[in-house]
C-alpha cells in the first residue's frame, strides 16, 4: 500500500536532484544532452515533488532519456510510448507524465498512438526529438528526412515525401503545439516550461542534431550566420518579424497563404501577421507549420495553446457521475441482477 506522507514543507528541488545514478550513454556532442540539461532545469521549478513525475519512452536514442532522470520512468517498446503513458495516466491521473520520443518512434512505427493520444487530449507532455534520421539502428532515413536524403537504406537518395510533425499534430487537433531547437538553451527552457504547465497533450518538436548520422541537419536554425534569416520567433500578440536587423516580416496574403515582406517603406509592423496562439481554430497554426526552409523562415515557439477538457479528467468525471447515479458499486446487487430463481 502507498502511504500518505505527512504534510511537510516541500523541499526546494534542484537540477541535480533529477540526475539519476546511470551513466549517460549518448554519443559525444549529441543534441540530446542539451535537452536533458534543460529538462533537469525546468523540472525543479514546477513545484511538483519528483516522485510525482513519470517519464515514458519508446525505442531509439532519445528513448533512453528516462534512465537519466531520477523520477519514475518506463522505457517501453518501439512507438508505443503514448499508449503506455495513456495507461499510466488512466491508472493514476495525479502523475505528471512526459513522453520522450523521436521522429521514427512517434511518426513511423508509432504514428497511430501519436495521433490518438493527441486527439484525446490526454494530459501528457510529448517531446519529439527530431533529427531526421534513425540513429540507434545506425543511419537509415526517417519519416522526417527530406526527399533526396542519402542514408544507409537510401544510397540513391530518399524518395519518401516527409511528414511535418507539427502539421500532423495540428491535424489531430493538438491543444498545445510548439517547436524549439536543442542548442537554443533559453528558448528550449521556455518551451518546456510552457509545455509542463499546459493541461492536455502538449506536443513539442525539438530540432536535435545527430552529429554521427545526420550532422548539421538544422544548421540553418543554429548557426549564427543563417539563424536570423531562417527562423522566426513566435510570440503571442506580436507580429512575425525576422532578419538580422528585424527588417523582414510575415504577412497574410490572399489565398490562404503567407508571404515574406520587407519592413519600411509602405509596409508597417501593423500590416504583419500577429501571432495568436489561443485562437480555437487551428488553421493559423497549421499555416505556420507549413513554413519551411528555404522558402520561409521556420517558426519557433508556441504555435498553439488552447484549452479543452482532458481525457483523463473526463474518465474520472464519468466514474464520479456513475457513482452519483448508481451509488457505490454493490457486489451483492450486481451478482443478483437479471432474472434470478431459487432451487430448493
Amino acid at each position: 500500500m502507498s502511504v500518505d506522507l505527512p504534510t511537510l514543507p516541500t523541499p526546494i528541488l534542484q537540477s541535480k536532484d533529477f540526475a539519476s545514478d546511470q551513466e549517460v550513454r549518448w554519443c559525444p556532442r549529441c543534441g540530446d544532452y542539451s535537452i536533458l540539461a534543460q529538462m533537469k532545469k525546468v523540472l525543479p521549478t514546477l513545484g511538483i515533488p519528483k516522485e510525482k513525475f513519470c517519464f515514458v519512452s519508446g525505442i531509439g536514442c532519445s528513448s533512453r532519456f528516462p534512465y537519466y532522470v531520477n523520477t519514475y520512468g518506463l522505457h517501453g517498446i518501439h512507438g508505443r510510448a503514448p499508449a503506455i503513458a495513456t495507461g499510466v495516466k488512466l491508472a493514476n491521473p495525479e502523475l505528471q507524465v512526459w513522453v520522450i520520443t523521436g521522429d521514427g518512434d512517434a511518426l513511423s512505427i508509432g504514428g497511430n498512438h501519436f495521433l490518438h493520444a493527441i486527439r484525446r487530449n490526454i494530459d501528457m507532455k510529448v517531446i519529439l526529438f527530431n533529427n531526421q534520421i534513425y540513429g540507434l539502428t545506425k543511419g537509415q532515413y526517417s519519416p522526417t528526412s527530406p526527399v533526396g536524403q542519402k542514408s544507409k537504406s537510401t544510397p540513391y537518395g530518399s524518395i519518401d515525401h516527409p511528414l511535418t510533425p507539427l502539421s500532423v499534430a495540428i491535424g489531430a487537433e493538438a491543444t498545445f503545439v510548439a517547436r524549439s531547437v536543442d542548442v537554443d538553451i533559453k528558448h528550449l527552457t521556455m518551451v518546456l516550461e510552457r509545455a509542463a504547465h499546459h493541461k492536455g497533450t502538449a506536443f513539442v518538436e525539438v530540432y536535435q542534431d545527430c552529429n554521427v548520422f545526420n550532422p548539421g541537419a538544422f544548421s540553418y536554425a543554429t548557426e549564427k550566420e543563417t539563424r536570423s534569416d531562417s527562423i522566426v520567433y513566435l510570440e503571442h500578440g506580436k507580429p512575425l518579424i525576422f532578419g538580422k536587423n528585424r527588417e523582414k516580416g510575415i504577412r497574410v496574403a490572399e489565398g490562404n497563404r503567407v508571404e515574406i515582406v520587407q519592413l519600411g517603406g509602405d509596409i508597417k509592423e501593423d500590416d504583419l501577421l500577429f501571432h495568436d496562439e489561443r485562437t480555437p481554430e487551428p488553421s493559423l497554426a497549421f499555416l505556420l507549420s507549413r513554413m519551411r526552409q528555404p522558402e520561409f523562415p521556420e517558426p519557433m515557439g508556441i504555435f498553439r495553446a488552447v484549452e479543452r477538457s482532458t481525457y483523463d479528467e473526463s474518465v474520472t468525471k464519468q466514474v464520479e457521475a456513475a457513482r452519483a447515479k448508481h451509488g457505490e458499486g454493490d457486489v451483492e446487487k450486481l451478482l443478483n441482477s437479471g432474472d434470478t430463481w431459487f432451487v430448493n
Binding site: E51, C54, I77, T86, K89, A322, E328
Partner: protein, 625 residues
C-alpha cells in the same frame, strides 16, 4: 428421450401433455429475424422454471447478410432438462426454421421423428432461389416423412394478430419471431411471464411495439392450443440442481462481473483496455457499465495500444486487463513481452475463435493454446489459465489476477467463443465467500543502504510492486535485460542466463500454489481422457456415458495450462492410454507429449462447432477397444 403420458385435463383443448426429460430446440432464421433474442428468452423462461439449461448461439460474421441467403442464417440452440446437463445437446428435437435458407443449413441436425416448424410463406419462389433450392423442400415427401412437420403461415397469422396497431408491414413482420416463440412455448409448456416482462421493459418507450410483441407471442401460443396440427405438447419438469439462488450467465458476462467484483472487494481500480473484436467485445461493453465499481474502461486505437496501456496502468499500480481474440493477441505479443520483462501484474484475456488470420470470427476453436504458450519473442513463459464454462469465468478471471499479483507477471486467461456466448444457470455465490486480492505495494526502500532494489525478489521470486508517487522509490525499468536485484540495464552473458532461468523458474513454481489436478472416475485404468477449456461439458458427458457402458475410462479437465498442476504427470501415468480431444489440431497433446513423454493420442476437430457428445462417446469407446 423417455416419455410418460399424463392424463389430459379438460382445459387443454383435448390435447395430451407428455413429460420429457431433456429437449433440444433450435431457432434459425435470417440474421435480422431476431433468433438470438427469442433463443435467449426461451433460455430465461426455462432457467427460471428450474430446468438446467445450456445454450449454443451460432451466428454469422455478417451483421445483415443479404436477406434469405445461406450465409446469413443465424441460429440459437438450447437444451433444457430435468437433470444436470453439460452441453447444449447434439441432435435437435425441435427445429424452427423461419425461411428456406435456415431449413437448408440446419435440417441435417434435426432428429429423425423430430418436430419441424417452418414459416411456410417464406418458401416462395424468391426465398427458394436465395437458398439455392431447385424445388420446394416442403414438397419433398421423402424428406418430410422423416419429421413431424408443421407448416405454419406465420407471416399472415402474425400480421393479423397485430392488425389495428398502425404498424407498417415491415414493423409487423419484425414481431414474427415472438409468434414463433409463442408457438414453441405452447409446445413445451413454458410460462410466458418472464418474456412478457422482458417485452414490457425492453420496449418501455414504445407502447405500440410492446403491444404488438405481446400480441404476437400470445397469438403463437393460441395457435398451438387451437390448431389441429398440434395434438401433443410436452412438459420438462424442473431439474434437481444444488439448492440456492440462480441466475443465467454467459462467459463474457461472468468475466466482466468477476472483474467488477474484484475491483470492489480489493479496493483497487481495474483499468480495462480493449479494442473491439468478436467474440470478446461484450467484456468491454459490460465493464463500461460498471464504472461505479471502480472500473475504468479504455477503448484503445488498436490492439497494440490496448496492451501497451495495460503495461502503463500496471506500472502505475492498478489492476490492468485487456481482452481480445486470436488476431488481436498476435498484435499484443510484443507489449506482452514488455509486461513479462518488467514483471508487472496484468491479465490478457483471449476469447479464442476459429483461425488462422481472420478465420471464423463468430465460431469457436481452441487453437490459441500454443500462441499463448509461445507467441512472444525470446524465452518468455507466462502463466496460462483456462475457464471450463461460462460460470467458471467468474472465478477463473479472479484466479488469474491472484497469480498475476502474487507472482508479478502477466497471466493469460483463455476463454472461447462457445463459453463467451453460451449461457448456463449459475448459482450466485455468497459475497463473504469470495476471494480478496491481498496486494501490498512497497512503501519504503528495500536495500540495505536505503536504496530501492527493483528486482530484489521474495520467496516466490516475485519482485516488489511500487506505486509511482511513492517518495524515495523512484526508479526506471523497461524492456532491456536487467541486472539481477538492482534492475539496472545489464547485457552481460551470465546475467542474461541467470535472469532467463529465474523468470522461467518463477512461472514454474506457480505449480506449488495452485490446486492439484483431480480425476472423475477410477484412479487407474485403461483410458484417461484429458480436456481443457470449453469442451468440459461435452467430454464430461461423453465419459459418463462410456463409464455407464462399462468402459474403464476416467476424465480429467485442465484449468491450469501453464504450469500444469504438479500431480498431472502421476495421473497421466496411471492409465494405459491417454486421449486428448481438442477443438484444434493437437496443441495440448503436443505440450503433454513434450513435457511428460506420454504417448497421448488426439481426437481433433476444427469445424467451428463444439464437440457432440455422441461423437466423443464413439471415439472414446473405440479408443478403449
Amino acid at each position: 428421450m423417455s416419455t410418460a403420458t399424463l392424463d389430459a385435463p379438460a382445459s387443454t383443448n383435448g390435447k395430451k401433455l407428455e413429460n420429457l426429460e431433456t429437449v433440444v430446440i433450435r431457432f434459425c432464421g435470417d440474421s435480422g429475424d431476431g433468433m438470438q433474442s427469442v433463443g435467449t428468452q426461451m433460455t430465461n423462461a426455462s432457467a427460471i422454471f428450474g430446468n438446467d439449461v445450456r445454450t449454443f448461439p451460432d451466428f454469422p460474421a455478417e451483421i445483415r447478410a443479404p436477406a434469405g441467403s445461406l450465409f446469413g442464417v443465424s441460429g440459437y440452440q438450447l437444451c433444457f432438462s430435468n437433470h444436470d446437463i453439460f452441453t447444449p445437446g447434439d441432435a435437435v428435437d425441435t427445429l424452427v426454421a423461419m425461411n428456406p435458407a435456415a431449413l437448408k443449413t440446419n435440417i441435417e441436425d434435426l432428429k429423425r421423428g423430430g418436430t419441424l416448424i417452418v414459416n411456410e410463406e417464406e418458401f416462395n419462389k424468391s426465398g427458394l432461389q436465395k437458398a439455392l433450392y431447385e424445388a420446394n423442400p416442403l414438397d419433398n415427401e421423402t424428406l418430410m416423412a422423416k419429421f413431424r412437420v408443421h407448416k405454419v403461415p406465420m407471416t399472415r397469422l402474425n400480421r393479423a394478430a397485430v392488425e389495428g396497431l398502425g404498424l407498417s408491414l415491415k414493423g409487423a413482420d419484425m414481431c414474427r419471431n415472438f409468434f414463433a416463440l409463442g408457438l414453441v412455448y405452447w409446445l413445451y409448456d413454458r410460462d410466458a411471464k418472464p418474456t412478457e416482462e422482458f417485452i414490457r421493459s425492453k420496449f418501455a418507450k414504445k407502447p405500440d411495439v410492446v403491444e404488438a410483441n405481446l400480441r404476437s407471442l400470445r397469438a403463437g401460443m393460441n395457435y398451438g392450443f387451437s390448431t389441429e396440427s398440434f395434438t401433443v405438447h410436452y412438459h420438462v419438469p424442473p431439474a434437481r440442481l444444488p439448492t440456492g439462488k440462480y441466475r443465467k450467465i454467459t462467459g463474457n458476462e461472468a468475466v466482466a462481473m468477476g472483474l467488477a467484483t474484484m475491483a470492489k472487494l480489493s479496493g483497487k481500480t481495474v483499468v480495462f483496455s480493449g479494442y473491439p473484436i468478436t467474440p470478446a467485445s461484450d467484456i468491454l461493453h459490460d465493464l463500461s457499465m460498471f464504472k461505479h465499481f471502480g472500473v475504468k474502461t479504455f477503448q484503445a486505437e488498436d490492439e497494440i495500444a490496448a496492451m501497451s496501456s495495460c503495461v502503463g496502468a500496471a506500472f502505475a499500480g492498478e489492476l490492468a486487463v485487456t481482452a481480445s481474440s486470436g488476431p488481436g493477441i498476435c498484435l499484443k505479443g510484443e507489449a506482452m513481452g514488455l509486461g513479462m520483462m518488467t514483471e508487472l501484474p496484468m491479465v490478457i484475456i483471449d476469447v479464442q475463435r476459429g483461425g488462422p488470420s481472420t478465420g471464423l470470427p463468430t465460431k469457436t476453436e481452441q487453437s490459441d493454446l500454443l500462441l499463448a504458450m509461445y507467441g512472444r519473442n525470446g524465452e518468455s513463459p507466462l502463466p496460462i489459465v483456462a475457464a471450463s464454462g461460462p460460470g467458471d469465468c467468474f472465478s477463473m478471471i479472479q484466479e488469474a489476477f491472484r497469480i498475476a499479483t502474487e507472482f508479478m507477471c502477466p497471466v493469460i486467461f483463455l476463454s472461447d467463443g462457445y463459453i463467451a456466448n453460451g449461457a448456463e444457470p449459475w448459482r450466485i455465490p455468497n459475497v463473504e465467500d469470495l476471494p480478496r486480492l491481498k496486494i501490498e505495494h512497497l512503501a519504503a526502500p528495500n536495500g540495505e543502504n536505503g536504496e530501492y532494489l527493483a528486482y530484489k525478489r521474495n520467496e516466490k521470486l516475485a519482485r516488489p510492486w511500487v506505486k509511482p508517487g511513492t517518495k524515495g522509490l523512484e526508479h526506471r525499468i523497461g524492456g532491456l535485460e536487467k541486472k539481477d536485484v538492482t534492475g539496472n540495464i545489464d547485457y552481460s552473458p551470465k546475467n542474461h542466463q541467470h535472469m532467463t532461468n529465474t523468470r522461467a523458474q518463477k512461472v514454474a513454481n506457480i505449480a506449488n500454489f495452485i490446486p492439484e489436478q483431480t480425476v472423475d472416475g477410477p484412479a487407474t485404468g485403461k483410458v484417461l481422457v484429458i480436456s481443457w477449456g470449453g469442451t468440459y461439458g461435452a467430454v464430461r458427458t461423453a465419459v459418463l456415458q462410456s463409464q455407464a457402458a462399462g468402459k474403464s475410462v476416467a476424465h480429467t479437465h485442465l484449468k491450469y495450462m501453464n504450469p500444469f498442476p504438479r500431480n498431472l504427470e502421476a495421473i497421466l501415468k496411471s492409465y494405459e492410454k491417454v486421449l486428448v480431444p481438442e477443438l484444434n489440431c493437437g496443441q495440448l497433446r503436443l505440450l503433454l507429449r513434450n513435457q511428460f513423454l506420454v504417448d497421448a493420442k488426439g481426437y481433433n476437430k476444427v469445424e467451428g462447432k463444439p464437440f457432440l457428445v455422441n461423437e466423443l462417446v464413439n471415439v472414446i469407446n473405440e479408443f478403449h477397444g
